[in-house]
Symmetry: C2
Subunit: 338 residues, 2 copies
């Protein structure tokens, strides 16, 4: 096992010098620096996280967490992942400060971001895809804050790491699932949430892309529910009535409950297959009622847990993740394997 001490001995210098070289603190003669670097490389030196963690205990790194959709059970699962991880890492002196907001208001999120200025060492955020947000995140990165986007990513931003699902693939999966359930023919109604969220647009693109190889799959109509269950109910119901031949519903984002209630409210109508995302209590209820046979699941708990894990590795052990994205799979769930 190779340590700083050992390198120091082998190079005939002190631990302090080796430390200065390895951590690029300067004030070292170029020749000795080269020698130490060579030796470290040759021996394959890896810093010991336990030592680092112990020495770094006085830093007490703070992780700021900003999540949209306060009170949304899906995000509650992300939060659970975060708090369980916080619990595991709290002993290393790391702590998380959580702030949630309701809806997707850019000003609100900017305000929360401002409140973290100079306070946090890392940031976990479910960002609104807005260029002002992207700019603030870039500023954070420039100030040395480690920025992790979770659940949804943001465009034109130099965030350090994204943790979440592949939304385009989520759409492809939804379409493929529909094919498995219905066969080669489908008359589809699409229920959109707000177009503000990057991922939801990508999901629809993925769905359409996968549809290209299915000549008898047709999108008959698209409605927007503005992330509101009542609108979702009303507009879905209207759509179903206007298209009596429609036999599939693709709910791209939120509003699943309202859409399912619309289906339930038309018991004499042709049977309809609903594809939707996330196993929150309301969708589980609809699975139990048989309105939903399947759901696509995004591992929310693991998203939160992994985000904290990445923050921990960076802040406490100074280890960057292998990749700047960590993609969790879109899983297909029945009631049985929830």
């Amino acid at each position: 096992m190779v340590t700083i001490k050992k390198i120091a001995e082998l190079c005939g210098v002190s631990r302090g010098t080796v430390d200065r070289v390895l951590n690029k603190r300067g004030r070292v003669k170029p020749e000795t620096e080269a020698m130490i670097l060579a030796m470290a490389k040759q021996l394959g030196y890896q810093p010991n996280p336990a030592g680092k963690a112990l020495a770094a205990r006085k830093h007490k790194p703070v992780v700021g967490v900003i999540l949209t959709s306060k009170g949304n059970p899906f995000f509650d699962e992300i939060i659970r992942g975060i708090t369980v991880a916080e619990d595991r890492y709290q002993i290393y002196g790391m702590q998380a400060v959580l702030k949630t907001m309701r809806g997707y208001d850019v000003e609100d999120q900017l305000e929360l971001l401002e409140s973290f200025r100079g306070v946090v060492n890392a940031l976990i955020i479910n960002p609104i895809n807005d260029e002002r947000i992207a700019q603030v995140l870039n500023e954070y990165v420039d100030q040395g804050v480690y920025v992790i986007t979770v659940n949804t990513d943001i465009e034109n931003c130099r965030r350090n790491c994204y943790i979440g699902t592949d939304y385009f693939n989520g759409g492809e999966t939804a379409c493929a699932l529909l094919e498995v359930l219905l066969g080669e023919k489908a008359s589809i109604g699409v229920v959109l949430g707000s177009s503000r969220v990057l991922g939801h647009r990508q999901r629809l693109e993925g769905f359409r892309h996968r549809m290209e190889r299915l000549p008898d799959f047709h999108i008959m109509d698209v409605v927007e529910n503005e992330d509101d269950e009542i609108y979702s109910y009303d507009r879905t119901r209207q759509m179903l009535q206007q298209h009596p031949d429609m036999d599939a519903l693709f709910v791209v984002a939120t509003g699943v409950y309202g859409a399912c209630r619309a289906v339930l409210s038309l018991p004499d109508r042709k049977e309809i297959t609903v594809i939707a995302f996330d196993s929150v209590p309301t969708t589980v209820e609809m699975m139990k009622k048989g309105v939903l046979k399947t759901i696509i699941y995004q591992h929310p708990y693991r998203q939160g847990h992994k985000a904290m894990d990445v923050a921990f590795q960076y802040l406490v052990n100074d280890i960057q993740p292998d990749s700047s994205t960590y993609i969790l799979k879109n899983e297909i769930k029945l009631l049985e394997n929830l």
Copy 2:
């Protein structure tokens, strides 16, 4: 942050005394012990894993790993999870020694177990469900070795932790999936592997249990393939020919490739829906060919990684897992979300 040192100061004793109390080493006056215990509890003392890890560095704990089915791609994924985790934890002085075997011979596994006697501090094993194995594992536990069963559990054994899927639920999920794919009627052929593996029996039980609420689901025939692809091919083919009305195949364990080849070899036969487990290259090939539309996935990588994580937490940080079982979900995969 509460440390041993702080507790010692507050109690007016030395760090050594506190250590003896907290680690139950004895040689402490009952009264002071009580006081220290009370203080530790009141302050919510948690040992710092970094300190523990550092102090434990001289121990160099060894994790023995015994896996059946050498060369099986499913187990290769488990191994990948183990080695990635080993890489992450290797810096703490922990190392893994991996031994694989072919098939399910009890003598072979006993031999491997013997070779680890007195060598390992923890054991990760994919056990054959045999009472002699159970007995040896109990001996290991009694000697203070931390025993983790992975992928399949074993009966009548005091192993410390099981990490893997719920096989009974896997069977239920398979049946529910078949219902989603075929509707309320199905004439099913079952392909069994070896009955030696506990999990595979449980899967069939789960399947049968879920079938109880489907009066028009019938198991027409059952064949065993002895974990051999050629037998699997032959016997499945014969079964399909004998039952022209059979429209579903439930492959409980290995032999998926052979069974699918049997389906392919009868192109003019009635279409058949195949339910099987694990996305290994051969099954993925069959998905691409369209023989398999879905597969049930067991998170093999995560099984291996989590097993090492639990071993690490125990050996290096002295932390036991929350539960003596860690159950990973049976996931349903299409080609799109593999």
